[in-house]
Structures are given as structure tokens and as C-alpha cells.
């Protein structure tokens, strides 16, 4: 397995992460359902994590990995809260489509 | 001493604010006499010499460090010299009179009104005595707040528009000025270690301006000059930055107009003198022709506008624009009579325009209109008030042996042959034509409102004005005549402080 790390240039991971990030961002921008939104954000965070883990190995520094762990935990918490909010949103507006509640604007 | 004066006025403002409405007017008047007495005391013991900014002896100076920022100290630094003392006296003199003149027209929320008046007085005193830039700027800006309320709450029908316009416009100008001044201080670099105006003035005079972010000292000085000039031009106001003034005046209640015209406009000219013309005389001198032209335009254009007005207050308001043009002319010529006359004119105009606004107010109290076409023959019903009105109007026209003439004449004498202003005789002669137009519109207005058969549609009898309306008018008139007959009571000390300003300029050729 050591060979894998040393054989793959870190730039490739950068590119992979960037691609995943962009996909997530694409999802955020194109989907109007809050749940898609949430999942897309998860993808983006995972993209960051790929970087952390990859470069932790590259630099031989564990802090990246540790941070990735934290991120996973925080992402989970965020999803939990997010789903709570989506549920109250649903209760008040009857939808999970984020483009519908526009009572406040301008 | 000055601290006591300002402090007392603040406390008095607070007390009046808390007093019941019925007492507020009387109480405020009583309180406002004390600052007046205090200023008289300052005057009697005045031992200053020269100009406070150029190393002269400052009377009653106090300097206490307040805070330090960016390596420069800000301090509580107050004191008076021959230029500021007359304005301090003017302020403390006008405020009690304005308060008395408010007794009739102000019939709601009195304690707030009088409290704000005193609060404004305290800040005005601060403006005229502060010698540290930040301190000065605090007072300078703080004047606007009570003024905003005074116009906004007790004003006429369009008071809200006028108040906001006044407030925003003059603040915008202040900011511009602030930025200009700051560039100047930073260009001074290590030459000045505080925001004390004397130190900054001295540092600039000693060539302390350095290159600042690649901009040459000359250019910085010029940019700062322009920024400050524009900033103060709004306050003065100088054409074409004057349009807030008629609106503010027309909507403001009489006592507020009195202070607005009497003292607040002087803040602008005072600051011009202190900052632009004392600190950066060479820049001023380099711009002599445009500034002279602006002065002349202010005089003539303001007078022409006054001629076109039908509202008495608007007439007086525009004529203030015109009068302030004279002051600018006096400043730009850099002669003792010019600069001294400009300062004297500030005081004189303060008294005269105060009188005029009060007189218009007295008539308004009785008629509830200020439109020229709505009334005539008021002299028939309120002879004393009208008599003083006429006297004041002639004072405004520059009748000799009244204060206005002295101020204007000093300026004219000072400017006619001034070396600092090319084509000075032509500028002066053009500006002088203002005295004809001012006579034109004031006489016309008086003819149609005060004289002729009495006509006014009211459902009540119009009788003589009450004593407490007329008394301040009379006091002002006496003061105007005294200053006109014996201008030296102020002019001597003003001149003493103006000489260093004049000497500060370098005239080519």
C-alpha cells in the first residue's frame, strides 16, 4: 500500500478533490430541494477530506488525518442540525424546496 | 475656566432637559446668562496675544492628554485668542436672546427644546475654543445633533426634509474635510506628534510636510486644502453648496434660525480661517483667483436669489449666503484689514442676521405667515418691533455706524489693493455691488410687508408684540450699534490675531 501513496502524484488527489468539490457545488447550485443541498455539501466536505488525508500522507504529518476525523464528526453534527431545520421548515411551509419560502426579501 | 464654561453649559442643558415644561424657558434663560457672564469674564481678563495657531500666547489654555493613537496624542486642549474670543462672546450673547425669543413660538416639549439649545451652546463654545483637532471635531460634529432635532421637531411643515438635508449634507462635508486634514497630518510624519492645531500649523510652516506614499508635499497640501475648503464651503455656505441653508432656515423655528445664522454659519468661516488660511496660506494664495471669484459669486448670486424670494425668512437666509461671500473675500486677500474684517464680519453678521431672524419671527408670531404678499402695513400694528426690524434691515444693508458696515468696510479696504489677490480692485468692486442689491431686496420686502395700509387676513386682532419678544431685538440692536460705533472693542484683538495669518503667506512678485 505504501507504493500507492508514493506512486500517485499528490496533484492527482488535488484534482480529484477539486472535481468532487465542483460536483458538490454543482449540486448546490442546481438543485432546489434542501436535501440535495445537504448532500451536496457533504460531498464538498468530503472533497476537503480527501485533500487532508492525501497530504497528511504526502507530508508524513498526522494532523491532516486527525483533522479529517474532526471534519467527519462535524459534518455529521451539521447534517443532524440541518435535518432538524429542514423538518421544521417542512412543518411550517409544507415543502422542502428552498426556493419556496421567500417571505423575506429585498 | 473654559472647561467650567463648557461643563456648566452641559450640566445646565441636562437640568433643563429634566425640568418641567412650564419652567424650562425661564430656567434656560437664567442658566444661559451664566455662560455669558463667564465669557465676559474671559474677555475682561483676556491676556492672549497673537494667533493661537502660530505660536501666539493663548489665553486660558488647558492641555490634558486624552488618548494616544497611531503615535499621536489627542488631548483636551482649549484656549482662546483674539479670533476665537469674539466668537465665544457672540455665542454666549446670542443664546440667551434666542432663548427669550423662543418663549412665544415654542409651545410644545419646551424642556427638550431649551435643553437642546443649551446643549448646542456648549458644543459651539467647544468648537470655538478647542485647539486640538479631534476635540474640535467632536464638538464640530456634535453641534449637528441638537440642530437636527431642533429643526426636525419644532420646525415648519417641511421640517423633516430640511432637517435631514441639513444633517446629511453638512456631515458629508465634514467627512471630506476630515479626510483632507488627516492626509495632511500623515504627510507631516514625525514632524508632529499630536493633533494639537498649533503644533500642526507650526510643523507645516516649518516645511514639515513630507512625501507621503509617493505624493509630493505640494500636491498633498493642495489636495488637503481643496478637501477642507469644500468641506467648510458647505458649512459656510458658499455657492454652489448653499442649498441646504434656505431650506433649513425656512423650516427652523425662529430661535433656531437665530443660532443657525448667527453662530453656526460662523463655524464654517472660522474653520476656514483656522485651517485653510492659517495652516495652508500658500495654497490659498495660489488659488486666490478662483476663491476670489467664488466669493464674488456668492455675494452677487446670493443677493440675486434673495431678490427673487417671497418668504421673509428665505430672503434673510439667502442674504446670509451673500454676507458670507464677503467673509471669504476678506480671508483670501491676506491683509490685516481683510482677515480681521472677515472675522469682525462674522461677529457683525451674527448679530445682524440674528436680529433679522428674530424680527421676522416676531412678525410671524403675530401673523402666522412670512410671505411677502400675505400682509402689509405691519408697522401700523406693531410699531416698536417694526422699527427695530427696519433698523436691523439697514444694519444688514451696511449702514455706517452699525456693525455690518464696519465689517464690510474693513473687508473692502483690506481687499481693494491686496497684493495677494490679482485683480483685487475688480473683485472688490464687483463684490461691493452686493450692498446695492441687498438694499434693493430688503427695502422692497419692507415696503410691501411693513408699510402701506394694514392688510392681513386673520380672525384675531394683531397687536403690538409682547415685551419679551421685543426686548431681545432691542438688546441686539444696541449691540450692533455699539459695535458699529466702536468696532475697536473687538477689532483690535482680532487684528492682533490676524497679523500672523497675514504674515504667513508668501506672495509671488
Amino acid at each position: 500500500m505504501t507504493a500507492v501513496a508514493s506512486s500517485i502524484p499528490p496533484e492527482w488527489y488535488l484534482l480529484l478533490a477539486a472535481a468532487v468539490f465542483c460536483i458538490g457545488l454543482f449540486g448546490v447550485l442546481t438543485r432546489s430541494d434542501a436535501l440535495y443541498f445537504l448532500m451536496s455539501v457533504e460531498l464538498m466536505m468530503n472533497a476537503a477530506n480527501i485533500n487532508f488525508v492525501a497530504f497528511a500522507l504526502y507530508y508524513g504529518d498526522l494532523t491532516g488525518q486527525v483533522f479529517a476525523l474532526f471534519v467527519i464528526a462535524l459534518a455529521a453534527a451539521e447534517v443532524a442540525i440541518g435535518i432538524g431545520i429542514i423538518l421544521v421548515l417542512y412543518r411550517n411551509f409544507g415543502v422542502t424546496d428552498v426556493t419556496v419560502p421567500t417571505e423575506m426579501r429585498w | 475656566m473654559i472647561e467650567a464654561l463648557i461643563g456648566f453649559t452641559f450640566v445646565a442643558a441636562l437640568l433643563v432637559l429634566l425640568a418641567p415644561d412650564e419652567w424650562a424657558g425661564r430656567l434656560a434663560f437664567a442658566f444661559s446668562l451664566l455662560p455669558f457672564v463667564g465669557s465676559m469674564y474671559l474677555w475682561s481678563g483676556f491676556d492672549g496675544a497673537g494667533n493661537a495657531l502660530t505660536g501666539g500666547d493663548i489665553a486660558y489654555a488647558t492641555q490634558i492628554e486624552w488618548l494616544e493613537v497611531g503615535g499621536r496624542t489627542v488631548s483636551w486642549f482649549v484656549g482662546v485668542d483674539g479670533i476665537s474670543l469674539p466668537l465665544v462672546v457672540l455665542t454666549t450673547f446670542l443664546v440667551p436672546l434666542a432663548i427669550v425669543s423662543a418663549w412665544t413660538p415654542i409651545d410644545a416639549r419646551q424642556s427638550q427644546f431649551y435643553g437642546l439649545m443649551l446643549f448646542m451652546e456648549a458644543n459651539l463654545l467647544g468648537v470655538f475654543t478647542a485647539l486640538d483637532f479631534f476635540l474640535w471635531f467632536v464638538f464640530w460634529e456634535a453641534v449637528l445633533v441638537p440642530m437636527y432635532f431642533l429643526i426636525g421637531i419644532w420646525g415648519g411643515p417641511r421640517r423633516k426634509y430640511a432637517a435631514i438635508k441639513f444633517f446629511v449634507y453638512t456631515n458629508a462635508a465634514s467627512l471630506l474635510m476630515f479626510i483632507g486634514f488627516m492626509s495632511l497630518t500623515f504627510a507631516l510624519g514625525d514632524s508632529a506628534s499630536s493633533f494639537a492645531l498649533p503644533e500642526i500649523t507650526g510643523a507645516i510652516a516649518d516645511g514639515g510636510l513630507g512625501t507621503w506614499f509617493g505624493i509630493s508635499p505640494d500636491r498633498i497640501a493642495m489636495v488637503a486644502f481643496l478637501a477642507m475648503f469644500l468641506g467648510f464651503a458647505v458649512k459656510v455656505p458658499i455657492v454652489p453648496f448653499h442649498t441646504w441653508l434656505p431650506d433649513a432656515h425656512v423650516e427652523a423655528p425662529t430661535p433656531v434660525s437665530v443660532l443657525l445664522a448667527g453662530v453656526l454659519l460662523k463655524m464654517g468661516t472660522y474653520a476656514l480661517l483656522r485651517f485653510n488660511f492659517t495652516m495652508l496660506p500658500d495654497q490659498a494664495s495660489a488659488l486666490a483667483i478662483p476663491i476670489g471669484a467664488i466669493a464674488v459669486i456668492s455675494v452677487i448670486y446670493g443677493a440675486m436669489l434673495a431678490l427673487a424670494q417671497k418668504d421673509l425668512k428665505r430672503i434673510v437666509a439667502y442674504s446670509s449666503v451673500s454676507s458670507m461671500g464677503y467673509v471669504i473675500l476678506g480671508l483670501i486677500v491676506f491683509t490685516e484689514y481683510g482677515v480681521g474684517g472677515a472675522t469682525f464680519q462674522m461677529v457683525a453678521h451674527g448679530l445682524i442676521s440674528g436680529l433679522m431672524f428674530m424680527a421676522v419671527g416676531v412678525i410671524y408670531n403675530a401673523t402666522h405667515t412670512r410671505m411677502v404678499g400675505d400682509m402689509s402695513g405691519m408697522a401700523d400694528r406693531m410699531p416698536v418691533a417694526v422699527g427695530i426690524f427696519v433698523a436691523g434691515a439697514f444694519g444688514y444693508m451696511g449702514l455706517p455706524l452699525m456693525a455690518g458696515f464696519a465689517g464690510e468696510f474693513f473687508i473692502f479696504v483690506g481687499s481693494f489693493s491686496a497684493p495677494a489677490l490679482p485683480y483685487a480692485p475688480i473683485f472688490t468692486a464687483l463684490a461691493m455691488f452686493g450692498i446695492v442689491i441687498v438694499a434693493g431686496y430688503l427695502l422692497s420686502a419692507m415696503q410691501s410687508t411693513l408699510f402701506g395700509p394694514f392688510e392681513l387676513e386673520t380672525d384675531y386682532d394683531v397687536g403690538p408684540a409682547p415685551f419679551h419678544d421685543v426686548a431681545p431685538l432691542a438688546v441686539l440692536l444696541v449691540a450692533i450699534i455699539v459695535l458699529g460705533v466702536a468696532p475697536d472693542i473687538f477689532f483690535e484683538m482680532i487684528r492682533d490675531a490676524a497679523v500672523p495669518v497675514v504674515e504667513g503667506v508668501t506672495i509671488d512678485g
Binding site: 468539490f21 445537504l38 494532523t63 486527525v66 421544521v88 411550517n92 419560502p101 | 494616544e68
Partner: protein
């Protein structure tokens, strides 16, 4: 004395806040529902005041300042307590105290106010930790500690459509921004190989070929900061969140949370991405902040000028203020002599802003408590029935506009001054123009309160209660706003010293 205490004592305010949060949970479980509101408010207020006292005492005693041996680092340098951290902790604690006291009256008839207090205090704990973070990891975790309770707080009124809508928008934009911020951190980590700020700075100094990656990361981090500080273009959540959220929460978000955003910026862009090294690497984030500052203040102020609702106006004004404070970062220069001055002024402004802006939102909370409505027209003539509160509001408005004799005057003007001193005349000019615009809409509030006549004689009858806690908070904020003018010396000097220590 400081030397006799263990180093970890420097984190006392953070511990106090965290402990208060826990204590609140405890109280909630043991007190009967009927009295829980009051007892929790008392505990929360005492706890935050204790934290405030602790941080002030630490500042005064010189903890972490350059005079007493420099910043105190803890936990393998992950935490670093210096004067700036303590200064900001003081801001957070004071805002928290005000909000907690005010919330007592605001939630007087709310079914379950208990969670509110603990959420606020936990968020404050996160902020305090944020201020002391010395590693990107700690920073991100602390940031999430602030954000997650905030999302809930905004949506706290579960049956109120406005509150829920606001919470949803805040959360979604927040989650997106967090992701961007995190990705930015990962890129920086990729480019420099470390998460410790000082090591990152070193890495920035020796980038080879990775300038683009680091630059991209920094821009994304700027985005995260912009979100937290409600700066353009990450500001979109702010008007809605502030408008929809319960007014005390709006106060908390717009003051404390915004300050938290700025502490990140100040910390990161002095220690992790120093100006000189960044510029040498071709990463001109100063320009980025300059653009953001200019656009933010302009957009905030111009939009605020045309609002009909006071609360939404305040929301936009708070965006505008973010623009002003951004000058504190945007006006830095490589060897500008006034870097410390301008950033210190920004910090001082945040402190003053903490009082005046919180006070203003609390006044809105009071109006909501009275039920007088939300628009300018609804506020007409309030001064007749509530002179004290209205006067306090006038103080806040004028102070926000930067008029003397209030503290906002000095902080704003020192900020402009610092910008000019560092050669950023154009930023100061932008600020000046915007101040003028802001004057217009701030004075509209004053005009409504004092000058306008009430729409009808009965419209003021709603003002039949005098909520003590709200009054106390508002008046206290007003007094602080006024007194900070004469007492500005120590504040600005501390702030300047704290900021200078970073360069």
C-alpha cells in the same frame, strides 16, 4: 501574579463560559419549568459577566501581551492566548451578557426558553475559543461550535415562519460556506503542509509552484470569513437571518458572531498569511479584502437606505459596518507603519459596535415585546411614551452613524485615519461616502421616534409594559456607548497594542 498561575489559567474566560453552558443544562434539568426562564437568565448573565470580568482582568494584568513575555501557547501550540484573544473574548462576553439579560423579557411567555440560554452560551464559548485558536483545525472546529448553535438560535421560534425561513437560509448558506472554508483550509494544508498558523506562514514564504493552490485556498478562506462577518458576497443570509430571528439572536449574531468572523480574519491574515509573504508569493489578498470592504459597505448602506422595516435596516447596516471593519484588514500593507493602528482601530470599532449594535437590536426586541410593529411608521412617536429607551436608541443610531459625542465616532474615525495613514485614501473615501448614506437612514429612525407624530393616538397604547431586563440592557449599552468616548483612550491603546503584537 500571573506567573504564579498555571499557563492554562489564560483560558479562564473560555472555561467560565463552557462551565456556564454546562451549568445551564444542569439548571434546566433541576428547576421547574415555571421558574426556569429567570433562573437560567440569572445563571447565564452571571456566567458571562464572570467571563467578561476574567477577560478584562487578564487584559489589564497584561496576560499574553508583549510586555509580559508574549502570547501564551497551550496544547502543542494549538491554542494561543494573547491580548487580541482576550480583547475579543471581552466583546463576546459583554454581548452575551446583554443578550442573555434581554432575552429574559423577550422569552417571558415562551414555552421552552431554557435551551436558548445554553445555546447562546455555548456559541459564546466557541467564539472565545476561536479567538484563541492557533491552528486551522482548532479554528474550524471552534467556528462550527459557533455556527451550529447559531443555526438553531435563528430558527428558535419554531412556529414562526419568518424564524424558520431565516434559519433555513442561514443554515444552507452557512453549510455551503463552511464547506468552502474547509476546502480552502485543505488547499492551504496541501500547499504548506501544516495547520499551525506560524508554520503555515513559513510555508507561504517558501511555496514553489503551489502559489495557485495556496492562493485558491486563501481566497476560499476569505470566503469563509466573509460569511461569518456577513460581507459581500457571502452576506445574503444576513438580512433574512437578522430579520427573521428573535431580536436578541439578531443582536447576538450581528455583534458577537460578526466579531468572531473578524477575529478569524485578524488572526489568519496576520499570523498565517502575513502580508509581506503573501504578496511575495503573488497572493494579493489585501486587494481582495479591499474590494470586499468597498463593495460590502456600499451595498450594505445603500440597501439599508431604502428599507421599510427597522430590523431589516439594521441588518443591512450591520453589513455596512462589516465593510468598515474590513478596512482593518484591507488597509494593511507590507511595511505600513500603521498596520497596528488600523487593525487596532477595527478591533476598537468592533468593541464599540458590540454595544451600540446590540443595543439597537435590543431596542427592536423591546418594540417586538411591545408589539408596536416593525416599520419606521410603526415607530413614529415612540419617544413620547418611552423617552428613555428612545433616547438610548437615538444614541445608538448616532453612534452607529459615527457622530459625536458617542463612541462610534471615535472608533470609526480612527479606522478611517488608520486607512489614510497606511495610504488607503480610497478606502477612507469610500467609508466617508457610505457614512453619509448611513446618516440618512439612521436619522430616519431618530426622526420616526422623536419627530414624527404617531399614526393614531391609540397606536402607542401597546407600550404598557416596562420590561426591566430589556430596559436594563438597552440603557447599559447606551451608557457604555456614551462613556466609551471619553474613555476611549485605554480601549484604543489596548487594541492597538494587541494588533501591533501580531505584526
Amino acid at each position: 501574579m500571573v506567573n504564579t498561575l498555571p499557563q492554562v489559567a489564560a483560558l479562564l474566560p473560555v472555561f467560565l463560559l463552557a462551565f456556564t453552558g454546562l451549568a445551564l443544562l444542569l439548571v434546566d434539568t433541576i428547576t421547574p419549568d415555571a421558574r426556569s426562564n429567570t433562573s437560567m437568565a440569572v445563571v447565564g448573565a452571571l456566567g458571562s459577566l464572570a467571563a467578561l470580568a476574567a477577560s478584562v482582568w487578564l487584559v489589564v494584568s497584561g496576560t499574553g501581551s508583549a510586555d509580559t513575555g508574549g502570547a501564551i501557547t497551550l496544547f502543542a501550540e494549538a491554542i494561543k492566548v494573547d491580548t487580541m484573544a482576550l480583547f475579543f473574548t471581552a466583546i463576546f462576553a459583554s454581548v452575551t451578557a446583554l443578550v442573555v439579560v434581554a432575552a429574559h423579557d423577550y422569552f417571558h411567555d415562551h414555552e421552552s426558553p431554557a435551551a436558548f440560554y445554553s445555546l447562546v452560551v455555548f456559541a459564546a464559548t466557541g467564539m472565545a475559543l476561536l479567538a484563541a485558536a492557533n491552528s486551522l483545525a482548532v479554528l474550524f472546529v471552534a467556528l462550527e461550535m459557533v455556527s451550529l448553535p447559531s443555526y438553531v438560535l435563528v430558527a428558535y421560534l419554531k412556529r414562526n415562519r419568518g424564524s424558520v425561513e431565516a434559519g433555513m437560509k442561514y443554515f444552507l448558506v452557512g453549510a455551503l460556506s463552511s464547506a468552502i472554508f474547509l476546502f480552502g483550509i485543505s488547499l492551504v494544508y496541501a500547499a504548506t503542509g501544516s495547520l499551525l498558523l506560524s508554520d503555515v506562514a513559513e510555508g507561504i514564504g517558501s511555496l514553489d509552484g503551489l502559489a495557485g493552490v495556496a492562493g485558491l485556498g486563501i481566497v476560499m478562506i476569505v470566503g469563509g470569513v466573509a460569511f461569518k462577518t456577513a460581507s459581500v458576497p457571502f452576506h445574503f443570509w444576513a438580512p433574512e437571518a437578522y430579520e427573521g430571528a428573535p431580536a436578541p439572536v439578531s443582536a447576538f449574531l450581528s455583534s458577537a458572531s460578526k466579531a468572531a468572523g473578524f477575529v478569524i480574519a485578524f488572526r489568519l491574515f496576520t499570523e498565517a498569511f502575513p502580508v509581506g509573504a503573501s504578496l511575495a508569493a503573488g497572493i494579493d489578498w489585501v486587494l481582495a479584502f479591499g474590494i470586499l470592504a468597498a463593495v460590502t459597505m456600499t451595498l450594505g448602506n445603500f440597501a439599508a437606505a431604502v428599507q421599510e422595516e427597522v430590523k431589516r435596516m439594521l441588518a443591512y447596516s450591520s453589513i455596512g459596518h462589516a465593510g468598515y471593519v474590513l478596512i482593518g484588514v484591507a488597509a494593511l500593507s507590507q511595511d505600513g507603519g500603521a498596520n497596528g493602528a488600523v487593525m487596532g482601530a477595527a478591533m476598537a470599532h468592533l468593541l464599540v459596535y458590540g454595544f451600540m449594535n446590540t443595543g439597537a437590536f435590543l431596542f427592536v426586541a423591546m418594540a417586538e415585546r411591545w408589539g408596536v410593529g416593525r416599520t419606521f411608521e410603526d415607530y413614529a412617536g415612540l419617544a413620547r411614551r418611552a423617552p428613555v429607551a428612545s433616547t438610548a436608541m437615538a444614541v445608538f443610531m448616532f453612534s452607529l452613524a459615527g457622530l459625536p459625542p458617542f463612541a462610534g465616532f471615535f472608533s470609526k474615525y480612527f479606522l478611517f485615519m488608520g486607512a489614510i495613514d497606511n495610504g488607503f485614501l480610497w478606502l477612507a473615501a469610500f467609508g466617508a461616502v457610505n457614512s453619509v448614506v448611513s446618516l440618512y437612514y439612521y436619522s430616519r429612525v431618530v426622526k420616526a421616534l422623536f419627530i414624527d407624530d404617531p399614526a393614531s393616538s391609540s397606536s402607542l397604547d401597546a407600550i404598557d409594559v416596562r420590561p426591566t431586563g430589556l430596559y436594563a440592557a438597552v440603557v447599559f449599552a447606551a451608557v457604555a456607548t456614551v462613556l466609551l468616548l471619553p474613555g476611549f483612550g485605554p480601549v484604543i491603546e489596548t487594541a492597538e497594542a494587541a494588533a501591533s503584537a501580531l505584526f
